[in-house]
């Protein structure tokens, strides 16, 4: 007998998300046969930005997300650099990378320990107070000494993620939300003392990553091997690339690229198209690249059920995030699944933290990180980078020295997207198919798969145009059911 379970609010994410799954018994096993997800909060950043001084964009867009503000600062300042025709000095590129890297480390530690691991541990006897109670307890959860060890690491990771933010703030001024990212580079100047302070914190972080985080992620995979075969999704991956290693951005620590239908490819941003077949927009709003995107709401459109468009590459759904980056760079080849996402995220953190040490060596103490520039009267810009959760793009038009259009396409918009015009599901919804659900009242398996994507909903729905629809910003993804 099929049963529909609603999980609202999905907790231990960023933002507001509702997941609804239909569970049925198939060949003797209870599993998900249909799923839909809904983003339940909308603010309207693309409307708020119009008419403003372009330089302010790097500060406004950071407030899209308090977990990944530096990614928006990076995308926005790259966008502004592009529109203003300016290239930051090497110190600026390196400092931006270091602050962004520090926030990546913070975000990944937060995700594994504070957002994910409670799905896998029975904390009875270890954390017997709120917010860790009330809780779910499944038979397959880790208990005993390994659970106690992971809880100890959970507490230690609170300190480590705080230290990651300390490191980033040395050059960022403060975190979350850095004031020092500007068009033309970074306002702070690296001194020998600041470099040494950052390195000292980085060394502590690298020790934790190498000796605690990576082993814990691998131990989780050993304890839950079935999750290497669950939560796969479409199996296509995409990265815009991040952490420029040279001024032109021609080499990046994590290169841009794609992996489509089992074959690697070169990223061509012109092949990104957003579809609106199941979205509350006019037909004319769909089938376009974000650079040309038009958004005309049509809340009464027949068959539509969501405010999110469906970003696609080469007309196919693609997953974004650490697994995509590590796969495309050739560093991770084990597989594509919920557990592969978790392990790849940990390995990416190590690769990044190790590289950051080299970037510190490249800094020239006391040299400026900033190149001044002027606001153009008119122009366009684009900034493509990666947030911890995947590819992030900012597009902007300037007219009369003011922002006339600003578009942001975020990784969770791709990952949590609805069906497109060919009825192809988005990554999260496809990943939920066939996930077993042992206990209707404790849908922890569903949470494990959803959490593996590290969803950030403030990012996903921020750019939707408001309709007059009282249903608000509900995003429904209905795979495969009539």
């Amino acid at each position: 007998m099929a049963k529909t379970i609603t999980i609202d609010p999905v907790t231990r994410i960023e933002g507001h998300l509702e997941i609804e799954v239909t569970v049925d018994t198939v060949m003797g096993q209870k599993k998900v046969v249909a799923a839909k997800s809904a983003g339940t909060m909308f603010r309207g950043f693309e409307i708020i930005l119009v008419g403003r001084d372009p330089r302010d964009a790097a500060q406004y867009t950071q407030r899209i997300c308090g977990v990944c503000p530096v990614s928006h600062a990076m995308a926005s300042t790259m966008n502004l650099d592009n529109a203003f025709g300016i290239t930051p000095p090497d110190n600026g590129r390196l400092l931006r990378n270091l602050v962004l890297g520090a926030n990546f480390i913070q975000s990944h530690l937060l995700h594994f320990y504070h957002l994910s691991v409670l799905d896998y541990i029975d904390t009875t006897g270890l954390l017997d107070q709120s917010p860790w109670t009330p809780r779910y307890v499944l038979e397959d959860m880790i208990s005993g000494p390994l659970a106690a060890e992971l809880v100890g690491h959970y507490v230690a990771a609170l300190e480590m993620r705080r230290k990651a933010h300390q490191a980033g703030a040395i050059f960022g001024g403060k975190l979350p939300c850095t004031g020092s990212f500007v068009v033309g580079g970074l306002t702070e100047v690296p001194t020998a003392g600041k470099i040494a302070d950052f390195r000292s914190l980085l060394n502590e972080l690298r020790s934790f990553i190498d000796n605690v985080y990576v082993p814990d992620a691998q131990a989780l995979g050993d304890a839950f091997p079935s999750y290497y075969s669950l939560g796969a999704g479409p199996g296509n991956l995409l990265s815009f690339g991040v952490f420029d290693q040279d001024a032109a951005g021609s080499t990046k620590l994590f290169p841009a690229g794609t992996y489509t239908d089992g074959a690697p490819g070169t990223l061509d941003p012109a092949e990104i198209t957003e579809y609106v077949t199941y979205s509350w927009y006019t037909a004319a709003s769909g089938g376009t690249n974000p650079a040309d995107g038009v958004t005309e709401p049509d809340p009464d459109k027949a068959g539509a059920y969501t405010w999110l468009k469906a970003p696609r590459y080469l007309h196919k759904p693609h997953e974004l995030g650490p697994l995509a980056r590590m796969w495309i760079s050739g560093e991770y080849t084990h597989g594509i699944s919920a557990m592969d996402r978790i392990v790849a995220r940990a390995l990416e953190t190590k690769k990044l933290a190790d590289a950051m040490d080299g970037w510190l060596d490249q800094l020239v103490p006391d040299a400026t990180a900033y190149q001044p520039s002027s606001i153009p009267v008119s122009g366009t810009g684009v900034g493509l980078t990666e947030a911890p959760r995947g590819a992030l793009g900012h597009w902007m038009d300037i007219q009369d020295s003011k922002i006339s259009r600003y578009q942001v396409v975020t990784p969770t918009a791709w990952n949590a997207s609805p069906k497109d015009d060919l009825d192809q599901m988005g990554p999260v919804e496809e990943a939920l198919l066939d996930v077993p659900v042992e206990d209707w009242d404790q849908p922890v398996e569903v949470l494990r798969v959803v959490h593996s994507f590290d969803p950030c909903l403030a990012c996903a729905v921020h750019m939707v145009r408001p309709g007059d629809r009282t249903g608000g910003s509900r995003v429904l993804i209905r795979p495969g059911i009539a």
């Binding site: 609202d8 001084d53 917010p131 507490v155 300390q166 050059f171 403060k174 939300c177 004031g179 020092s180």
Partner: protein, 333 residues
């Protein structure tokens, strides 16, 4: 709830050095911390970015985040951290709200357009409904961050969702404390919670309902850039340059917050931050002001300061009487 004697003494010593807690308040803190029932906290997040929650997790100066969570409060509902999801999470909020006397923390703005449906917390509960309902039994209401305090970036013109701060939604409310900032500094939250738990009443507030302890002094009056003066001001010629950033958009003359002294992202217990916005040579955005962000934008354009409150001279750099005041317990570097 337990706190080790060692931890209590450490906290008490830090508080004494800061000159912020009297002897009787310290005794009260010990009583609270050794009490059987920890104070309940319900933390609602609306139209925001969760940055204030992330900022709270950076707390260390007064107490670490784990110290606050494990030893000081019962955080009965908070979506980023709680183990439960869905109905189980909602039941925790409902159970906590049934017992009067909790602290309600509100983060993010409250959209009121489209019947409140721009922000739904769970089925049948918009953020707007939740703030009205969950304020009923609260002993104190803390609006955390710029969005919850005054609307913040979420209410930036043209405010497409008709987003509002808690004060505008609830009207005059004697229980309300605003802790604006984008994000709010973790110390402002943890320090305020400590005050509420020990004193049993609101701290002294300014006319915007912000604690004077954290928002009582102008950024400009404590800014280290003024120490560069030997009679004549030194203005930075460009971002990243040395000197006062007033003509590059700094809103320090418009803004009251203790950032120059406390700084951001503290190194450890009792210590101050590694840097701050102006310390990183970028202008203050005025993020604690009721008119942030619209009234503080463009961020990189000069905004003439308000007339001097004591009438001591003309407004503006030409005639202003500077008076550099440094609090004895917090030395600007």
């Amino acid at each position: 709830m337990n706190i080790s004697r060692r931890d209590f003494l450490k906290a008490a010593a830090a508080a004494t050095v800061a000159g912020k807690l009297t002897t009787s308040a310290l005794a009260g803190l010990r009583d609270v911390l050794l009490a059987e029932d920890a104070p309940s906290v319900i933390w609602l997040q609306g139209a925001g970015c969760d940055g204030c929650a992330i900022s709270f997790l950076n707390s260390i100066h007064y107490a670490s985040a784990d110290d606050v969570l494990l030893n000081t409060i019962d955080l009965d509902f908070q979506s980023n951290l709680q183990a439960a999801a869905g109905d189980l999470a909602v039941s925790a909020a409902e159970a906590a709200a049934a017992k009067p006397g909790y602290i309600l923390i509100v983060e993010g703005a409250i959209p009121t357009g489209a019947g409140g449906e721009y922000c739904r917390l769970w089925p049948g509960m918009t953020m707007h409904q939740a703030v009205l309902q969950y304020s009923d039994n609260a002993a104190y209401i803390v609006a955390l961050g710029a969005c919850a305090s005054y609307g913040g970036v979420s209410s930036g013109a043209p405010n497409p969702t008709e987003a509002k701060g808690v004060g505008e939604v609830l009207g005059a409310d004697a229980r309300l404390i605003n802790l604006p900032g984008c994000p709010a500094h973790p110390d402002w939250l943890v320090g305020t919670l400590t005050y509420l738990l020990t004193a049993g009443h609101l701290p002294p507030l300014d006319e915007h309902r912000r604690p004077l302890e954290f928002y009582g002094e102008r950024i400009h009056d404590n800014c280290f850039n003024r120490r560069l003066y030997c009679g004549e001001p030194v203005f930075a010629d460009q971002l990243g340059g040395v000197g006062c950033l007033e003509f590059l958009g700094c809103k320090g003359k418009h803004t009251q917050a203790d950032c120059p002294l406390r700084k951001w992202n503290s190194r450890g217990s009792g210590e101050y931050g590694v840097n701050w916005c102006i310390g990183a040579r970028s202008p203050c955005l005025g993020c604690v002001n009721p008119n942030f962000p619209d009234g503080m934008s463009p961020f990189y354009e000069y905004l003439a300061p308000p007339p001097a409150a004591n009438g001591s001279g003309e407004a503006g750099p030409a005639g202003e009487q500077h008076q550099l005041r440094v609090r004895r317990d917090m030395k600007a570097s």
